[in-house]
Every structure is written in structure tokens, then in C-alpha cells.
Amino acid sequence: MAVTLLVPTALRTFTDGKKELEIAATTVGEAVTALADTYPDIKKHLYEDSGELRSFINIFVGETNIKSTGGLGTAVRDGDTVMLVPAIAGGALTVNN
């Protein structure tokens, strides 16, 4: 059972530039855990300290947000596309000191 995990540009710094990964998984959570195990540097950008998914990242299976299908426990099927969709601001994250 393999799904295609799509990594957005903003997170590719942590996946050695990879934008697509084939991952064996039965749930979204397993797929994301496998990603974090392969690229440990991405972990703290995906999860809060509490272990919850960070709220500026949404995950879609196909065109549906996993928020409405049971979160990380959402089951995935062979051939599904799992997409990480982070918030992008389109510009300067200037720290205004």
C-alpha cells in the first residue's frame, strides 16, 4: 500500500529538495511519521511540542481536508495523494523589532 506524499516548496529545505515521496502507509499519520523519520529536521516544523500537527499546515487526501475525516487517523488507500498545504504569506516575514 503506497501513497504519494507531496511536499510543498516551503518544506523542501528539510527533504533535500524532494517534492514527492512514495510511502507505504495505511493512515495519514503513518505517512507523515514516515516522512519525519526519513527527514528528522522537518519534525519540529510539522508538529507542536504536544505532538499535534501545527495549525499552519493542512493535510489533504485527494481534495479533502483530513480535518473533516478524522485527522491523522484518516485511512489512506493505495494510490492516494497526500498533500501538505502550509500557509504561505506571499512575502516578507519581516520581524518588526
Binding site: D41, N58, A89
Partner: protein, 396 residues
Amino acid sequence: MDGGDDYMNSIITDDRLTELSNDEIARYSRHLLLPDIGVEGQKRLKAAKVLLVGTGGLGAPLALYLAAAGVGTLGIVDFDVVEASNLQRQIIHSTRDIDRPKVASARDKIKGLNPNVNVVVYDTTLTSANALDIIRDYDIVADGTDNYQTRYLVNDACVLLGKPNVYGSVFQFEGQASVFYAGAGPCYRCLYPAPPPPGLVPSCSEGGVMGVLPGIVGTIQAAEVIKLIVGGADSLIGRLLLFDAWGMKFRELKLEHDSNCPICGDNPTIHELIDYEQFCGLKKTHEEKKFDTITALELKARLDAGEPIQLIDTREPHERAIVKFPNAVAIPIGQAARRIDELDPNIDAVFICKIGQRSVFAMRALDEAGYTGRMLNLQDGVNAWARDVDKSLPTY
């Protein structure tokens, strides 16, 4: 909303419509020939008031196409001045506009294209103090801003005032577009309850953006604005359009209203505008470790004195190709923690990036990985080195 389909009725009421002049009929004839727009749709455009927040990459095509389309009133908010590095994508500004306020340059361009448009200029930053008063007068807001705090501010103000928020954003080769309209569909907070911690997602000034990308996404926003005004079209409400310019691929995702949304949900906790800098983590919190900084001139002096210093260039390879930092070891941010052993904790380490912001993330990653040596952040990054020490180097 009409029943059944997602077609929106026009948000411009009939009592606001006025006749078109013969000049206007000539100018807008290609709209008038479209049965779905026609004379009535054009009158609605003429009556409409649209606020553009930002006159940058997204705001440029928005302003130009909405002016060309005959939107009666365009408000433009921007505090910035035109810089040379804007011209790669912000096509409403020209070379001779460098150093002019963006709103002045944009107003001239809009008036030159279509003198019928009433342009209202706000040469200011949109803030919690002025947003409601500014937005209140408009029918639609188009968000072309470049930072999270303004995005949440625009969203919240639109929800509180019941205005549609035509959203677009871009990063490198990727764009997003949607229409957030509480009551008819989800708002931005339904999708993203909170922003990323500052600096995690590099900004366009650090991460770069393909020049035509905001042109495409801003034009999509302009189409959505026109559709909301004319009515009868299938809007992007409840849909998130993703665009990948490098792969030339569009994807569409379903967005749902979140009944737990803090501002448009069943039990909202936000009833007025808040402090968005604080919300976006831009104000220093005491728990966050602060690293020491070193200026380019101080670093030069210490190197000239022969002090041993480890220079760590945290930029990506393609940036190092723009300008090399002499004698630095390249450790991109994403690799910092796993390459901790390459650093000698007995020697001061200076961390370098483009402008001294991203480097902090490499320092934080090393700190969390247990690095014990002294770490200094090069203030204002490579650009400061080029400005203050080696003037033969370019800034970017």
C-alpha cells in the same frame, strides 16, 4: 446565494446602478457583448468599490485589470516605496518610479489606463486601529499583502464587517487563491487557525518568487472580484486553488467552514481586532532564547586581528552562487542539527544568511541539539558585509 448551485448573486444592489455614458459603452463593449456581464453587469462594476491591500506583485495585476474592467472606485493601501527589486514582478510600477510611494505610482498608472476610476489612496500600513474604518466603505477586499499579520487582520476585519475577502498568496513557484466570505463559506482562520512561527517559512525577499507567478495569481483574484460584483458566476468560495508554475499544474481543494473557528464559528471568541504582531509571534517573548549579534565591521576587525572564528554560511547553494562569503563553511538551515559535529564549541561561531534572520534558525536548531559553543549572528547578513566591508560585492 442561489439555491442548489454555488452561484452568487451580485453583492451590488440595484439601487446603486447608474446609466453608462456613450464613452463607457464604447470602452466596455467587449464586456457588454458577454450576456453574463452585459449592460447590467457593467453598471454593477461601475458602482462597485474595491479595496486593494498592497500594491505589490499581486496588487499590480489586480489594480490594472480591475481599473481596465471599469470598477468605479479602487482604494489602494500601501506604505511602501518602489525599489529596483520590485520591478521583476510589480508591473504597475516603472523604473522611473523608484523611490516614489507605491500608492502614488499605482494611482498614476490606474488613472492613465482608465480616468473614469475613482482612486482612493491610503499611504499607510493597514493596522488594527484603522482597518475597520478603511474597509467599511468598500464592497470587497482583495488581499495582496505579503505578511501573515496583515492577512489575519484583513480576514478578521472582513469577517467582522461581513465583506468578502478575495485571497491570493505566492511563494517561489507556488500560489494559492480563494474567496473567504464568512456566512457564505469558510474564512482564512477556518483553514489556518494560526500562522507559522516567524521565519519558519522564508519570505519572498529571502525565498524568492518567480516574477510571473503573482501576475497569474493576482489575475485570478481580479477575476474573482469581477465575478462577485457581476454575480451569477461560480466563485472560489469554499475552494482553494493551488497553482504550481514550475510544474504548470492547477489543483483544487475543498474548504469547509469550521464550526470551531474563533471568529466565524458557532461560539466565536474574537469579537474585535486584536494585536496581530503578537498573534503572529513577532513580538519577542522572554522564553525564546536571544542570540548575540556581531556587526560586519566587528567581525572584520576580529578576523583582521587573526582571531580564530568559525564562519557558518546558512544560505542555500543557489544563494551562495549569487555572492560567496569568504572562508565560510556552508551548512544550510535544514542540515544544522545533523552536522553539529562539524563545529568546534571552543571557537566562536558566526552565522551568516542574507539579512540576518534565517541564520537564527540554524542557531536555534544547534542550541536545541545541545551545542555548547558561543554562537553569534551576523547582523543584516551578507548584505551588511557587502555594504560595510567589501563594497565590491553585490547586495540581493
